[in-house]
């Protein structure tokens, strides 16, 4: 059985699993990291959004063999650690606005929001409605209005 080594939430992990198993299932079914959720398996609902080296991506659509040993994967569980706090400012903003309803999509929404704020800043601007319109994460409870507010709030504290 092939062995794969990479970093998850600051810790080095090694898993024995076939090369073509998608990273989402390695995280969830092998490593027991359940924050990234399954909603489609084909990279359209974005419920599994995590970060790879600080950029948002969807592990449902990445083979574990394509993750390099020095790649750093961050799931919602590891997001506070990236700022050395109990909660990331975006999570605080989510609480402040009481965004979540069922909560199923929210780990992915938060991970997407953090990356989107960084992306806008890299392009020399603060996040705005046009950027938020580009976020593809589905919320079936329909919390979009509060997500929009929370992202703008959270960005200010990032």
């Amino acid at each position: 059985m092939p062995t794969h080594t990479f970093k998850v939430n600051g810790k080095q992990v090694t898993v024995d699993i076939e090369d073509d198993v998608r990273l989402l299932w390695v995280l969830r079914d092998v490593l027991g990291i359940n924050g990234p959720k399954y909603g489609c398996g084909i990279n359209v609902c974005k419920a599994c959004t995590c970060h790879i080296n600080g950029k948002a991506f969807n592990p449902c659509s990445v083979r574990v063999a394509d993750v390099e040993p020095d790649d750093e994967i961050t799931t919602i569980e590891g997001l506070p650690g990236t700022v050395g706090a109990d909660l990331h400012p975006m999570q605080e903003a989510w609480l402040e606005r009481d965004v979540a309803q069922c909560g199923y999509c929210q780990p992915g929404q938060i991970m997407a929001a953090v990356a989107k704020v960084r992306q806008a800043r890299a392009a020399g601007r603060e996040i705005g409605d046009a950027d938020i319109d580009e976020i593809r994460n589905i919320c079936r409870c329909g919390t979009y209005a509060r997500i929009r507010e929370a992202i703008k709030d959270g960005a200010k504290k990032m």
């Binding site: 198993v21 924050g35 959720k37 489609c40 084909i42 199923y104 589905i138 209005a145």
Partner: protein
């Protein structure tokens, strides 16, 4: 069955709620129980006693199935014990209170609502109250069924009574400890305090206050004027778990050896497996532990869900046809049109004007983001189930029947759901998991693929609504509506097996239609305007189990009301009135008029709009409450034709303002969230989201072709106004926001484009995607995820 109502119109009332009747000591006193337990436990009856006559009794036949399922007498004996339907608030030695709630929490906020009611009466901080979901409790009979936005309405008094009894008992125990009288003591934030400053914590009293024997007691609960928590905005009690990824859904449970399991499903609706050519080869695939045919397909168990997906797609299965292989949207529509009950008022009458319309509403998926998931551990003599369930009692009964086990050998744990929207009233996934676990002899964690949800899941029944209204001399004389629908499956009954079987009574489906569909239609629909002679009739086609149907965040009203409001706008135009002032004149209820006025005011009704954009305003009355929604829509070509990869853009609702009156809002913040969600559903249902049926197959297969509202479709401005309390009694919320929102979007589209839409969603006529293959059943898992990293 005609529905005629007398008008209840009056002048617009002031904003202040009607005064509650004067001090009536009898009114706020309730009976409850102190329950013998190691720590203080206080309880109240949930719902009426089973001993009371039930209407459903008339349709309970001597069906052999009932006795085969379990010993009905035992159940009835259990259910008629005076303490059978108690719900209890328990105080713990650590000073927290616990409540095991016999309802589903699917994001609608009922656990937070329950915690608030307990906090109010128990005088305990909200964060000291743990609300969990109760296992299936068959003795509750009809009272463990989450549907129809009923949870708050039914739980409001019982929870408060139980908490109040606990508070009184704490006071008595503290009086002994502090050597004081009860009346001199005050409960405050988890302590009983004496006037001299001495105090004792609830935790220290938990055991001292415990009852030695179960006894009935009387208690006074708070008047509205005494509320400190109820009616104040509160955040969800599970918010921290949600934003940290700690909130556990069924697929996150770590049940030993319950490995991922998925089903290879047929290419057409309700097809069944005939034979499998390569069972052994698939069993040898990486990670795979078991492959067994079950009633609905072929179950695959593996180390990871990813390996399940690959194995499902590797299976070579011959399929039997399903129930609707010859049916498509067109054939169903033809059948609906043929079954429409005729309108009775002539279309041409001297001196009267006529407005008519006929509208078609296509299939919609429940589409909770968390797919159907159930963990099942079936042993020879018992079974244990974990799943998000709206009807856990029925689930327990069905599993017992399927396995031939006594009811008490089946334990059903209710897990919080990642959305429900009606889907989790049906226990399909549990019955599949049960069958797979039994056949494999191992625990399973069965999950539906998203594509299974789209193609074999339940859907809102396709329907038509035809309306004819006549007017003369400034009045609307008649308003007729004929709603014709594919049969809705009511075999979940009221969440337990007796009424569930009632829905199946032969002649096939008649129990379903006459026992459920027609009564539910008449109990939920109305025309909230003084329009003279009003009739609304329902007719259903096909039998209840031809198509897999269910409600989808409300059943008939989003469509019924959208059809009506489109006609109302036309009536207003024909009668030369502004849509808002016309509605204001004709609404038949002061509370509806008040929300209408508020939405018009906050939404700036009548402001100047660019060509190609428009406002619309609509109302709705249901669930003991009223809503009004004002939307602004942008239908200009540059907006409609904006391009987003793998997405439907189309017209954009740029602003949505909803005023909502639920009588007594328990948690205005939670209510606001529910209404916002209702708006997003209304937008989806009016503009973008439907299923296409072609030759027994639903063409949609995931979120990239089933177009639920996305960030780029959501309004840039959304405002909810929660009206001050009006009735003193809470109403429903979960499904309540959808009808006026959907209607407003449809009306705004008509006003912006000058074309009245006649089928919904408006984009249904154009298939904007290439349907995914049906064999193999699941889309391949992509490998290019890193290309899209940002």
């Amino acid at each position: 069955m005609e529905q005629r109502r007398s008008p209840r119109s009056g002048p617009p009332g002031p904003d202040t709620p009607p005064e509650s009747p004067g001090p009536d000591l009898g009114r706020r006193r309730f009976l409850g129980y102190l329950v013998a337990a190691p720590t203080l436990a206080a309880a109240a009856h949930l719902g009426g006693s089973l001993a009371a006559p039930r209407e459903a009794g008339a349709v309970i036949p001597s069906l052999p199935e009932v006795q085969e399922v379990f010993d009905l007498n035992d159940l009835l004996t259990l259910a008629t014990k005076p303490t059978a339907n108690l719900i209890a608030v328990v105080l713990n030695p650590d000073g927290t209170a616990s409540f095991d709630m016999p309802r589903a929490e699917s994001g609608q906020g009922v656990t937070t609502m329950a915690a608030m009611l307990i906090a109010e009466e128990l005088e305990l901080p909200l964060d000291k109250i743990n609300v969990t979901l109760a296992d299936a409790r068959p003795e509750l009979m009809f009272n463990q069924f989450t549907a129809g936005s009923n949870t708050t309405i039914s739980m409001y008094n019982p929870i408060r009574v139980a908490a109040a009894i606990a508070r009184e008992q704490l006071l008595k125990a503290a009086a002994i400890q502090l050597g004081d009288t009860v009346t001199a003591l005050t409960p405050h934030l988890g302590f009983i305090e004496a006037a001299d400053g001495r105090r004792i914590s609830y935790g220290d009293l938990a055991e001292l206050a415990a009852a030695q024997k179960t006894e009935q007691v009387e208690v006074r609960i708070k008047e509205r004027s005494e509320f400190k928590i109820i009616g104040t905005p509160q955040n969800r009690i599970d918010a921290l778990d949600a934003v940290t990824g700690r909130k556990k859904f069924a697929m996150d449970l770590d049940v030993p050896d319950a490995l991922p399991t998925m089903i290879c499903r047929p290419p057409t609706i309700k097809g069944t497996p005939a034979s499998v050519a390569n069972l052994d080869a698939v069993r040898r695939l990486p990670g795979v532990t078991d492959v067994v045919p079950i009633a609905t397909g072929v179950a695959v168990r593996a180390k990871t869900f990813g390996q399940c997906i690959d194995a499902v797609n590797a299976l070579d299965v011959a399929w039997n046809p399903g129930t609707v292989d010859g049916e498509s949207d067109d054939t169903v529509l033809a059948r609906l049109k043929k079954a429409e009950i005729p309108l009775t008022v002539p279309a041409l009458k001297p001196l009267t004007g006529v407005v008519e319309g006929e509208f078609t509403f296509y299939w919609r998926n429940n589409a909770a983001l968390e797919p159907n998931t159930a963990v099942a551990d079936v042993r020879a003599d018992r079974a244990e189930i974990w799943a998000p369930l709206q009807s856990p009692i029925l689930c327990q009964e069905q599993v017992a029947a399927q396995l031939g086990l006594p009811l008490n050998a089946v334990t059903v744990h209710v897990v919080q759901a990642g959305g429900a929207f009606g889907r989790r009233m049906f226990n399909d996934v549990v019955l599949e998991a049960t069958e797979a676990s039994k056949k494999m002899g191992k625990p399973v964690k069965l999950m539906w693929h998203r594509t299974d949800e789209c193609r074999q899941g339940r859907m809102h029944p396709m329907c038509t609504s035809r309306i004819r209204a006549t007017y003369s001399g400034g009045n609307v004389l008649t308003f007729e509506q004929r709603h014709t629908s594919v049969a809705t499956d009511y075999t979940q009954g009221f969440g337990e097996i007796i009424t569930a079987l009632g829905a199946k009574i032969p002649p096939l489906g008649q129990g379903n239609e006459l026992g459920f569909s027609v009564p539910v239609f008449h109990l939920t629909v109305n025309v909230p305007y003084n329009f003279g002679a009003v009739t609304q009739l329902l007719n259903e086609v096909y039998t209840y189990d031809t198509f897999p149907t269910s409600s989808v965040r409300n059943l008939v009203n989003p469509d019924v009301r959208t059809a009506q409001e489109l006609i109302v706008d036309q009536l207003a135009a024909k009668m030369g009135k502004d849509p808002y002032t016309f509605r204001r004149q004709f609404v038949d209820d002061d509370r509806v008029r008040a929300v209408l006025d508020k939405a018009a005011e906050v939404g700036e009704w009548g402001r100047e709009m660019e060509p190609g954009t428009a406002q619309a305003i609509t109302v709705h009355k249901e669930y003991k409450g009223a809503t009004a929604t004002l939307v602004e829509i942008d239908c200009r070509p540059e907006t409609v034709n904006r391009k987003i990869r793998n997405a439907v853009t189309g017209p954009r609702v740029t602003k949505a303002v909803m005023a909502v009156d639920t009588g007594l809002p328990i948690n205005p913040r939670g209510l606001e969230a529910q209404m916002q969600g209702g708006i997003m559903d209304g937008i989806a249902q009016a503009l973008t989201s439907s299923l296409h049926l072609r030759d027994g197959t639903l063409l949609e297969g995931s979120w990239d072709d089933y177009f639920y509202t996305r960030h780029w479709n959501a309004p840039l401005e959304t405002k909810i106004i929660v009206m001050p309390p009006t009735t003193g009694e809470p109403g429903g919320a979960g499904e309540f926001g959808v009808p006026s929102a959907m209607a407003a979007v449809a009306c705004a589209y008509a006003r912006a484009t000058g074309t009245i839409p006649t089928s919904f969603p408006i984009n249904h006529g154009t298939l904007s995607f290439k349907p995914k293959a049906t064999v193999p059943p699941l889309p391949p898992s992509p490998t290019n995820g890193l290309e899209f990293a940002y």
